[in-house]
């Protein structure tokens, strides 16, 4: 593999505590620039941990993650990626405008430039006019769109998303999935997306990494060969269901004999 891989995970293992649970075992993955990759698996499969290893928020016990050929630590210091969490994680005391411009403030952008960029992004996530609002005045779905705008402010080549729509109702989630694809196509960034929704993973991704739990391992990488741009019709496509079924069966295999199948909606 050349250094051109957007994300390269090399033999990553992670054990929490001494002799504790093995969250990740010998993970090897490469994501290409512009790919949309989902990590899916039962809870405890370490998908969120893997995402944090990529973002240098968790240090692997073994192996390393590279972003664009750079060690993850350097990539974090260079602000090469934007992060979106399950909770919008907005600062309650900042207006929407100020929340979105937070990373730019930290990077020392001039006020004028910040304002222009924020306006651009709020337009992209269709929240123009909400600049002066506070986060608690917005619905959960709108808050998450603000978080996405914030992750995009400094135009990172990689976006890490940790179950960003997991706490939203299904209708909002469906709509935001479409919006996310539109934004992704507009930015050409690489997206690594953690989810436990099979339909969401298949609908969004170019590839789905199916993981198994205890220890967290890659079960299989499923190519999603549905054409982009995907629309609401994609969700009714026969092939879409075939792929979803394939992912579901892989998940079932991965923890046969265990309860708690991941939600299939």
């Amino acid at each position: 593999m050349t250094s051109a891989a957007a994300v390269s995970i090399r033999n990553v293992s992670k054990t929490f505590g001494k002799g504790g649970t093995k969250a990740l075992q010998n993970i090897e993955l490469d994501f290409q620039p512009g790919e949309f990759v989902s990590l899916i698996g039962p809870s405890g499969c370490g998908k969120s941990t893997l995402l944090r290893v990529i973002g240098d928020l968790v240090e692997p016990t073994e192996g390393e993650a590279l972003i664009g050929g750079k060690p993850a630590h350097q990539a974090r210091l260079d602000r090469d990626y934007g992060m979106v969490f399950q909770e919008a994680t907005l600062m309650d005391w900042r207006t929407i405008e100020k929340n979105v411009s937070l990373p730019l403030e930290l990077m020392g952008w001039a006020r004028e430039k910040r304002r222009d960029r924020v306006r651009e992004l709020l337009e992209l996530v269709e929240l123009t006019g909400f600049e002066g609002h506070y986060p608690w005045q917005l619905s959960g779905g709108m808050q998450q769109r603000v978080a996405i705008a914030r992750a995009l402010t400094f135009n990172p080549s990689l976006i890490l998303m940790d179950e960003p729509f997991g706490a939203l109702d299904e209708m909002t989630r469906d709509r935001l999935n479409l919006e996310l694809l539109r934004i992704w196509e507009a930015t050409s960034a690489t997206v690594v997306f953690v989810t436990h929704s099979i339909f969401e993973a298949v609908f969004l991704s170019s590839r789905v990494v199916v993981m198994s739990a205890r220890p967290g391992r890659v079960q299989k990488v499923v190519e999603i060969d549905l054409p982009y741009p995907r629309t609401t019709e994609t969700r009714e496509d026969v092939h879409f269901f075939e792929l979803a079924t394939e992912v579901r069966e892989l998940l079932r295999e991965s923890h046969s004999g265990r309860d708690a199948a991941p939600e299939g909606t």
């Binding site: 974090r76 260079d78 934007g82 994680t89 309650d92 005391w93 937070l102 930290l106 005045q137």
Partner: protein, 260 residues
């Protein structure tokens, strides 16, 4: 105009209660022939309040400055210690139980000791007031600084923010409601500390001594008038802190407050 009318209708019931209460008090004392040492009439108290104003207000101001400096010192040390303990979490968690226990100690019991240490003038009262303010401010501020959501810290780290930046941009704003809650408590405690500290010995210019001596000399209306001075200054102090809170929180509105 409507805002003024709104304010008036909001305050009117409270004001009516005050007037009715005072009238009821006056009439009750008259009707039941209550002795002055038990409860003087409001009119007598107000007369003493006016007649003795040249003694009571300077005494009140003297005591207020004790409370104020005690507040400033206690709060500074409380916030300072909280910042240090928030930085060194292990130390903070090790000491926290003791601080919580310490904030339950009747610190006022140390007042006679403080007199022995610092003399009967201002400094012993400032010490007691500061000590009373210290623990609640420390405990609350530490709780505020450490109640930041882990994801907010992760988010800041994903922007390669240093600890100091996280502190300034996330920890301090998150802690503000906690800090102000404790500052309001501290403002009350500081007044209590100063006055009760004075009961254990002080000079004539102190309000606590005025209250104590007037009561000892059976000048109960003067004692009550002095207490009224203490109340006015105490409430004023509390309101000043609340005003500072409102002005600060206007810049840092938080969700909990907005939902109220």
């Amino acid at each position: 105009m409507t805002r003024l009318r709104h304010a008036t209708t909001e305050w009117l019931p409270a004001l009516a209660i005050l007037v009715l209460g005072l009238v009821g008090w006056e009439l009750a004392v008259k009707a039941f022939g209550i002795q002055k040492f038990l409860l003087p009439k409001p009119s007598e108290i107000l007369t003493a309040f006016w007649d003795q104003r040249d003694i009571l207000w300077p005494a009140g101001w003297y005591t207020f400055t004790e409370a104020f400096w005690g507040f400033v010192i206690g709060v500074s040390f409380g916030i300072g210690a909280a910042v240090v303990l928030a930085r060194f979490r292990a130390l903070g968690s090790a000491l926290m139980p003791y601080f919580i226990a310490a904030s339950a100690i009747p610190i006022i019991a140390f007042a006679p000791i403080a007199n022995a240490w610092f003399g009967i003038e201002k400094s012993s009262k400032i010490f007691i007031a500061a000590l009373l303010c210290f623990f609640p401010v420390l405990v609350n501020t530490l709780r505020g600084l450490t109640s930041v959501k882990p994801q907010q810290v992760e988010l800041m780290r994903s922007y390669a923010a240093r600890d100091f930046t996280v502190f300034k941009r996330v920890r301090i704003p998150t802690s503000l409601p906690y800090v102000f809650a404790s500052l309001k408590v501290a403002s009350v405690l500081a007044m209590i500390g100063a006055i009760v500290g004075e009961y254990f010995g002080g000079s004539q210019q102190q309000l606590g001594i005025q209250i104590k001596n007037s009561a000892a000399l059976f000048q109960f209306e003067t004692a009550w008038a002095a207490i009224l001075v203490a109340c006015i200054l105490g409430v004023g102090f509390y309101l000043a802190v609340s005003l500072a809170e409102i002005l600060t929180m206007r810049r840092y509105p938080s969700a909990e407050r907005a939902r109220r």
